[in-house]
């Protein structure tokens, strides 16, 4: 008996430290380094720190309450009513009001032509969306970064910078070269664990990794093409499933108004070279909008390159020099150059340009983020992001395939690869998880060395 007690005590002593190590602590400053702009609309990492949406996605891809506590659909999804969470305040102390939400969402509409609703207005403590066409996926769509709620105006009616929200952190400003965010003590979700988040922007991947290695950064980005190197360097990685669709957007303009020309372009691209070499086999070759893991029908969209058919479809039609725009990052420019090379073999003269400075874009290499793990809403979100406002009503694989196939037949968007999103974290970061879109959920993060 004594022996059993002693053993039990020893086990308890062994378990207690482990329990202490896993229990989150409040406090500390989390340092994040990113290559781009944290305030980039809509995917900048800062937006989700400062703002909340009416809904949010859980790990299963289901919309769950956020600033809206419940919602109802009426009139065959033509009308939706969302009831706001009570007692929620903006970082400015201004209470969350339906009118403020309507104003914020209207601003989102102006900024993004892909709003699914026709009108939005406040009814009591609720927000009512109406549309001429059904909006079956509205709760899921509202969880996206494009529809985060911010305080657009102050009490006096003056315009605010857009960094005032209800999120777990509030924006302090630029301190010591870092975008600084402090924990929102009054967050409706509860106070986050870390006291402060510092985001160092416009850092090269090399510098980020260097800072991580010397302890100056806690979370750094790992591009898909660098995942292998990161693994070789034994970095602690957090990798999402394939959530970023790399695609070639083809302008339906005068130059490329001929669908055969667009079809020839689609057949000329060499996805495997992009995946195997440029993205170091970290991508998932795809010719469909949604990843295979979500739909299971991706294999129905052919991914093979067919140069002869591309020539055949082009039919000897002469096209003037086309401009392929891509982000100025080295990988995207390299991928664009490879695509230009592919297209050159099919008889196209393609010049690669920086998307930020290109005057005219016949082709664009773009990245689309998978909104959730729910295929229907993800497909609609993706389509809206490329300017297709038709709602995705069908929820069956066949219906989704049909919708996707009809769109891809236009060859205005040529899916190339699905890429994961990955981060390398320092040893002091705990409980970091990624959302369905691959973004880090920083509100849940705690620091090991926090008091």
């Amino acid at each position: 008996m004594l022996r059993q007690v002693v053993i039990s005590c020893l086990i308890a002593l062994a378990v207690l430290p482990a329990a202490a190590r896993t229990r989150p602590h409040y406090g500390g400053t989390l340092r994040i380094e990113v290559e781009g702009d944290p305030w980039k609309v809509p995917d900048g990492i800062a937006w989700s720190l400062v703002h909340d949406g009416l809904t949010r996605m859980d790990s299963n891809g289901t919309a769950i309450p956020a600033l809206a506590v419940r919602w109802e659909t009426q009139n065959d999804n033509h009308r939706w009513q969302f009831w706001l969470r009570p007692n929620v305040q903006f970082h400015s102390g201004w209470p969350l009001k339906p009118s403020t939400v309507v104003l914020s969402l209207s601003g989102s509409c102006r900024a993004d032509a892909g709003c699914p609703w026709t009108t939005v207005h406040a009814v009591g403590t609720s927000i009512v969306f109406t549309s001429d066409s059904p909006m079956p996926n509205l709760p899921a769509l509202l969880s996206g970064n494009g529809y985060l709620i911010g305080q657009a105006e102050s009490e006096e009616g003056k315009a605010l910078p857009g960094s005032v929200g209800t999120g777990p952190f509030h924006f302090v400003g630029l301190q010591n070269g870092a975008e600084t965010f402090e924990a929102n003590e009054g967050s409706w979700q509860g106070r986050p664990f870390v006291d402060k988040i510092e985001i160092f922007s416009h850092k090269s991947i090399h510098d980020q990794w260097l800072d991580l290695s010397v302890g100056r950064a806690d979370i750094v980005e790992v591009p898909a093409e660098q995942l292998r190197v990161a693994q070789q360097q034994h970095l602690t990685l957090l990798t999402s499933p394939p959530v970023t669709l790399l695609a070639l957007a083809v302008a339906d303009s005068s130059l490329l108004s001929n669908p055969n020309i667009r079809g020839a372009i689609a057949l000329a691209v060499d996805r495997s070279a992009l995946s195997n070499v440029i993205f170091q086999k970290q991508g998932e070759v795809t010719a469909s909008l949604l990843p295979s893991a979500l739909t299971g029908y991706s294999f129905l969209f052919p991914i093979e390159r067919d140069l002869n058919k591309a020539h055949e479809m082009r039919g000897g039609l002469a096209t003037p020099a086309l401009t392929l725009a891509a982000d100025n990052s080295a990988t995207m420019q390299l991928a664009a150059q490879r695509l230009a090379l592919n297209l050159h073999e099919a008889g196209f003269n393609v010049q690669v340009a920086n998307a930020a400075t290109a005057q005219h874009k016949d082709l664009a290499l773009i990245q689309l983020t998978l909104a959730s793990s729910q295929p229907q809403s993800s497909l609609e979100s993706m389509l809206r992001s490329v300017g297709v406002s038709t709602p995705v009503i069908e929820n069956t694989p066949a219906g989704l395939y049909k919708t996707e196939h009809e769109f891809l037949e236009t060859h205005t968007l040529i899916p190339l690869l699905y890429l994961p999103r990955a981060y390398a974290v320092s040893g002091r970061v705990r409980d970091l998880r990624l959302s369905a879109s691959g973004w880090p959920l920083l509100a849940d993060v705690s620091l090991q060395d926090a008091q």
């Binding site: 190197v229 070499v277 440029i278 390299l334 991928a335 090379l341 050159h344 073999e345 690669v352």
Partner: protein, 610 residues
């Protein structure tokens, strides 16, 4: 142009030609020497440049060798061969090229496809034929992502340790910065003409594009280290020659209309491993200094030549004067002699040919003077003899009857008075006739010695001829005792025939000719008087149909005292010739073998019509 001027011109031309020939020879020689020196200098610079070019080639080769020999690269090559996965080394070429300061670097896998490309990272997976080249260095046109192409100096090396071999193809760009790094002497410009290239697909070797497909010359593509080359179009022929033949070409290029803006240019074709001309390197050295020196020397030569010619002209003046003066004196003396001044003497200054000529001339004039005096004396004696003979002859004929008559009278004194009276009357009549005959003879001689001075008037030849015809036509018709009278014919042009003559003298001359013609036709005939205007003269003809004249007679007809008539004095035609000569005319005689003679008088036409 006189002798002195001719001599002056001859001397001047000779000296000027000699000076010009010397100056031309000197200038040509100087130009050749300068050009030779210029070519040697250009050849030296080109040689230096080629050594530097080879040095740069060696640098490229060394850089690629260094990369290929590094442990890191050898490990990479081993890994690529072993794993067959080259993807992790996609950006390796960029890093290696940056470290080695190469503009181009490609890692080419064992399959001949690009694993990593520094200059065109997206080109992975495409074949690179240059990897198999074994040459130390070679030129190659490299396609770039922006659609352009660049010329580069390349070296290809296998990476040791990996089997099958992984290769490196590295190079440096042949561009303006490359040219700027090359050593250039003052006045030397190095430029590069590079075609745009055929822009083939990445799978093909651009160096295989044949030279025949070269685009037309584009002056904008000729670049020096500092930018576009001035007057690049002037290089076209040179560059085209190098492009077409694949051989170096040299030429003097005139960049502007000024000679000093010229260059001695050499075009060096830069060829790929297959021999295709990829670009043309031009090394041009300014000829400004040489041209300025040439112009300076030329100016001096011209100055010396001009001075020499001027000096030659002055010397020629002196020499010509010295040489021509005696000849001129001789010429003037000869003119004086020709004018009748036979007393002329020329100075005898020298002992040369001219002096000898002067002495001969003086001797000749002295001889002429002496002979003339002798001739005059002889002629005078002959004239007196002839005159005496004539006078004796003429006077002897009447004197003989006179003597006979006087002797008859003396003998008749012995006759009875009636017979004496008869003889006396007969003798006195004969004496009177013979004395009248003597008077006539003396009158004729007197007339010949006292030819009157012409009193010129403007008359028409028709009038003069008509007067003669009217005077003698009737006489000829009536006084001629023969049964066949002399018939007068008149053939006078209706055109005006103005003459400025003494009408009386001309009438006497024509009358004399008409009387001679009548005497020549004792059996009758036709006497024709004709007159025709010529260009500047009036021609009067007096023709008869008589027996004509022998050539000897024609020759001596106008000699005084020569006559073919039994009772002629031989002074008639001499008087006619004297009259005609006094009117600046001429007289000639024509005799036809069939008989008949024509006297042709030519007188100057008067400018005033009557």
């Amino acid at each position: 142009m006189n002798l002195r001027q001719k001599l002056l011109l001859l001397f001047s031309l000779t000296v000027a030609a000699a000076v010009a020939a010397v100056a031309w020879t000197v200038l040509v020689r100087i130009r050749l020497v300068f050009e030779q020196r210029d070519q040697q200098e250009t050849a030296l610079f080109v040689s230096q440049f080629q050594r530097e070019f080879q040095h740069r080639s060696a640098e490229v080769a060394a850089a690629v060798d260094h990369i290929a020999a590094s442990e890191h690269v050898r490990a990479m090559a081993f890994e690529i061969v072993q794993s067959g996965d080259a993807a992790p080394y996609l950006t390796e070429a960029q890093t290696l090229a940056q470290d080695a300061q190469l503009d181009f670097l490609e890692i080419v896998g064992a399959d001949g496809n690009v694993v990593s490309s520094a200059q065109w990272p997206a080109r992975f997976g495409y074949p690179e034929p240059a990897a198999e080249l074994t040459t130390t260095t070679f030129l190659k046109r490299e396609d770039l992502p922006n659609g352009a192409s660049a010329l580069g100096l390349f070296a290809a090396r296998p990476i040791r340790g990996a089997e099958p071999a992984v290769h490196l193809v590295g190079g440096k760009r042949l561009d303006q910065s490359f040219l700027a790094d090359l050593p250039a002497a003052p006045g030397m410009q190095i430029s590069l003409y590079s075609d745009a290239g055929a822009n083939p697909s990445p799978g093909t070797d651009p160096s295989t594009v044949p030279s025949a497909n070269f685009a037309a010359f584009d002056p904008a593509r000729l670049l020096s280290a500092t930018g576009p080359v001035t007057a690049a179009a002037r290089y076209q022929s040179l560059i085209d020659s190098a492009r077409k033949t694949g051989l170096p070409a040299s030429s003097i290029l005139y960049l502007t209309d000024h000679r000093e803006d010229s260059v001695n240019a050499t075009a060096i074709p830069l060829k790929s491993e297959s021999g295709t001309v990829l670009a043309v390197l031009t090394v041009s050295i300014s000829r400004g200094g040489m041209v300025e020196a040439q112009q300076h020397i030329r100016a001096i030569a011209y100055g010396v030549a001009a001075g020499g010619i001027l000096f030659a002209i002055i010397c020629s003046l002196w020499i010509a004067a010295r040489v021509s003066r005696p000849i001129e004196q001789l010429a003037r003396a000869a003119e004086q002699v020709a004018a009748g001044n036979w007393e002329t003497h020329v100075p005898e200054r020298s002992r040369d040919e001219v002096g000898q000529l002067a002495r001969s001339f003086n001797h000749m004039t002295a001889q002429l003077t002496s002979q003339r005096e002798q001739l005059i004396q002889t002629e005078r004696v002959a004239a007196w003899r002839e005159l005496a003979r004539r006078l004796a002859h003429e006077l002897k004929n009447p004197l003989f009857p006179l003597q006979l008559t006087v002797e008859n009278l003396v003998r008749a004194r012995a006759l009875p008075p009636n017979e004496f009276d008869e003889v006396f009357n007969e003798s006195t009549r004969t004496l009177g006739m013979e004395i009248a005959n003597l008077k006539t003879i003396i009158s004729r001689f007197s007339d010949f010695s006292k030819m009157p001075k012409p009193e010129l008037e403007h008359v028409d030849a028709k009038g003069v001829i008509e007067r003669v015809r009217s005077l003698y036509e009737t006489t000829a018709a009536t006084s001629n005792p023969v049964p066949q009278p002399i018939r007068f014919e008149l053939d006078v042009s209706p055109e005006p025939m103005p003459l400025h003559v003494d009408p009386e003298l001309l009438h006497r001359a024509l009358s004399n000719l008409v009387l001679n013609a009548m005497d020549a036709m004792p059996d009758g005939g036709t006497l024709t008087l004709s007159a025709n205007p010529l260009a500047n003269h009036i021609e009067i003809r007096v023709s008869d149909t008589g027996a004509g004249l022998t050539p000897e007679e024609c020759e001596r007809l106008f000699t005084p005292y020569y006559t073919t008539k039994q009772h002629g004095t031989g002074l008639g035609l001499a008087i006619v010739q004297s009259v005609i000569a006094d009117h600046s005319g001429t007289i000639a005689v024509e005799s036809r073998p069939a008989g008949g003679a024509t006297f042709v008088i030519t007188l100057p036409k008067s400018s005033l019509e009557v």
